[in-house]
């Protein structure tokens, strides 16, 4: 299994590539069915809605914030475009294009996150890192001090 590859493309794009040992049909289900999304996106999710159709929308809730936005394009099991707003701020947020390509019996996934400008991209990387660290430490605290 190859590890996730991260690339910065031009001023605005973050590109993530990852291979999975299951075919696109299964990866698509895991990316679009709320019951499955809940199992991998984050252990802290409190609600998860996804209507992966053109004109549909999604919303992922954490205790203190949420991501939501419109689904612009969806063509199972290979292509989805959505816009990801933070806490309902529709003036900002990347356009996220996910592409699944069959690769033998597995899948090559490419996720392109296109931000409004270089500053928005840099902020997103820092924020993702900061939130991730907080989440990891939160989990360690839960393990250390069970209630």
């Amino acid at each position: 299994m190859t590890q996730a590859q991260l690339a910065l493309d031009g001023d605005t794009d973050v590109v993530i590539r990852r291979s999975f040992s299951h075919p696109p049909e299964k990866v698509w289900r895991a990316l679009t069915e709320p019951a499955l999304i809940r199992q991998w996106l984050s252990p802290d999710l409190t609600d998860c809605r996804m209507d992966a159709r053109p004109g549909g929308s999604f919303r992922y809730d954490w205790p203190a914030f949420f991501f939501s936005g419109p689904v612009l394009e969806a063509r199972a099991p290979q292509h989805m475009v959505l816009v990801e707003h933070f806490n309902g701020d529709t003036t900002q947020g990347p356009t996220v294009t996910t592409t699944l390509a069959a690769d033998g019996s597995g899948t090559r996934m490419t996720v392109v996150m296109r931000y409004q400008d270089a500053a928005a991209r840099a902020t997103a990387i820092e924020q993702g890192f900061t939130d991730g660290i907080a989440e990891v430490y939160g989990r360690i605290e839960q393990v250390s001090f069970p209630t």
Binding site: L8, K26, W40, F129
Partner: protein, 112 residues
């Protein structure tokens, strides 16, 4: 302004990335740097200014010469941020691997 903004903007330009690659082999003057690139010394100087403002390189003063060199801490820090960010994605994808491995046994449709 976020601390990563200027370095990322600086790295978006292919000539500036090539200059950094050259400086990774050792310090160099504007004249040294202009030679392999088909652009003028003033243009190189402008690129160097952007890289220096972004904290990626520094100027050493040596008599009348002003050789530039990499600012290793800044490069390492940038690498660190990107590495951590990538690791977060990889954590998520490893949970996704596990979901996919279990998926054959799962009925379709939402379960709480």
């Amino acid at each position: 302004m976020p601390p990563l903004d200027a370095p990322f903007a600086a790295l978006a330009d292919p000539t500036r990335r090539a200059i950094l690659a050259r400086l990774a082999q050792g310090e160099a003057t504007v004249q040294d740097l202009a030679r392999p690139f088909a652009i003028s010394q003033p243009a190189i100087s402008r690129h160097l200014r952007v890289l220096e403002d972004a904290g990626l390189i520094e100027t050493r003063i040596q008599g009348t010469a002003r050789p530039r060199r990499l600012q290793p801490d800044a490069i390492a820090q940038l690498w660190h941020w990107l590495g951590q960010y990538r690791a977060l994605w990889e954590d998520q994808f490893q949970r996704l691997d596990a979901v996919l491995d279990r998926l054959d046994d799962q009925p379709e449709g939402p379960t709480p």
